[in-house]
Amino acid sequence: MQLSTQALTVVRGRTPALDGVSLKLERGDHLQIHGPAGGGKTTLLKALAGLIRPSTGTVRWDALDPWALTSADRRAHQRHLGFVFQSDALFDSLTVEHNVRLPLERRGVPDDEARARAREALERVGLTAAALKRPESLSGGMRKRVGLARAVVTAPEVLLADDPFAGLDPDTEREMAALLLEVASARTLLVALPDPSPALPMPHRRLADGRLE
């Protein structure tokens, strides 16, 4: 899937969180977006994922405008997008395995297959042993990995990671970076970070005050 934005502006309150951002990601591209907190990184990633509606400008998934679709159709297409959230966004009331399986549950994937794919995703991030635990009992690094497993369980073409190293120590950060690259492999990968990370060898661009430099 090709992801692109054209003159994308998102206004929150009075100030624009994004101010005329144009970006194009071809299939298989890897890119880091870095910049200060409040610069619009999260908003850009969420707009690309169809979670935030543009105030003006457009977002395109290939030639498709996500906001021209019905909400049900949009959610069906979001299967092609994996998102690693800054705050993990795991559900503490569900087991780790159920958290990872959730994106498949409502998409009509047969239960046996969903469980097998969730197990496989957990295995790829090395968390098979934690499958039946609750997310709240895990460390920060492990929670990030659960988030990554959930993001890739639908076998998406694009992986978006919002500050995946937040709150991790340098060793865990390197592990997480290696894992991210391994899981992304041929997929499109867009990572938002406060500073460019040496552990992720890929082009980077700076986003500050809602403008892409």
Binding site: L51, R79, F83, A89, P103
Partner: protein
């Protein structure tokens, strides 16, 4: 924010939730869980609050009656009618708005700032049909029932108080003046409050962004919205019934 603005937001949330319901029905389990929440948690606050309220009203009536009217038992049937038609629905709905409204807005606002709503969307789950709709359905069913329970509690407490003060308490549960219109008015009030409370509580919570501070603000605003809506809707329904002559 103007009243038109507020009304518009709630109307929008209602129509969007109903539309979401048509596409994706919430699991019955979630609706039952919300009913259980209202039934097992809100009911205690409603019952206790309404019992206190009924006792207070008769205490006041008793003191005034001794001064001006003489016999307080005379006011009993009129009090009972006022309780059923007006006070029962509105005060019970306010208590439900405090308990259930605060609970719902706290839970949803915390989910919102922790990006869990967006995680649901990416899991092909519509937050409106999964989180708002069950609360809407449960409250629409349960608030009228809570109003009945609260009204009964207040009436019994009133009768008991008059007995304790040495009067004839049975006149305070005398349905002599009660008409079908009164019951219809009470039902209408509790139904619209049942719809409004979850909408007000969820509306602010879904928009909460930022950190823990936003959660506190969302709870405050959600409960205030819910209580104000209850008062406004109650007044409007009273006006409509007055106009209809029921």
């Amino acid at each position: 924010m103007t009243p038109v603005h507020v009304a518009g937001r709630h109307w929008l949330l209602l129509t969007r939730t109903v539309r979401a319901l048509r596409h994706q029905r919430p699991p019955l389990k979630l609706v039952l869980a919300q009913l259980d929440e209202l039934g097992t948690r809100s009911i205690w606050l409603v019952t206790a609050g309404m019992a206190f309220f009924g006792a207070v009203l008769t205490t006041i009536a008793w003191m005034q009656a001794r001064k001006y009217i003489g016999n307080v038992a005379f006011a009993g049937p009129a009090y009972f009618q006022l309780l059923v038609r007006e006070l029962g629905p509105v005060v019970a709905a306010l208590l439900t708005a405090s308990r259930a409204g605060a609970g719902a807005s706290a839970e949803l606002a915390a989910m919102s700032v922790q990006e869990q709503l967006e995680a649901l969307e990416l899991s092909a789950i519509d937050p409106l049909s999964e989180l708002v709709a069950p609360r809407l359905i449960a409250a629409t069913l349960a608030v009228p029932l809570l109003c009945v329970v609260g009204t009964v509690a207040a009436a019994l407490a009133a009768a008991g108080t008059v007995f304790a003060l040495g009067g004839d308490g049975s006149s305070f549960i005398d349905p002599r003046y009660l008409t079908g219109g009164d019951l219809l008015s009470a039902l209408a009030k509790s139904l619209v409050c049942g719809v409004a409370i979850p909408l007000a509580a969820c509306g602010r919570a879904l928009e909460a962004r930022g950190g823990a501070a936003a959660v506190g603000e969302a709870v405050t605003a959600g409960v205030v919205d819910a209580c104000l809506l209850v008062l406004v809707l109650d007044f409007l329904v009273t006006l409509v019934f007055l106009g209809l002559g029921l």
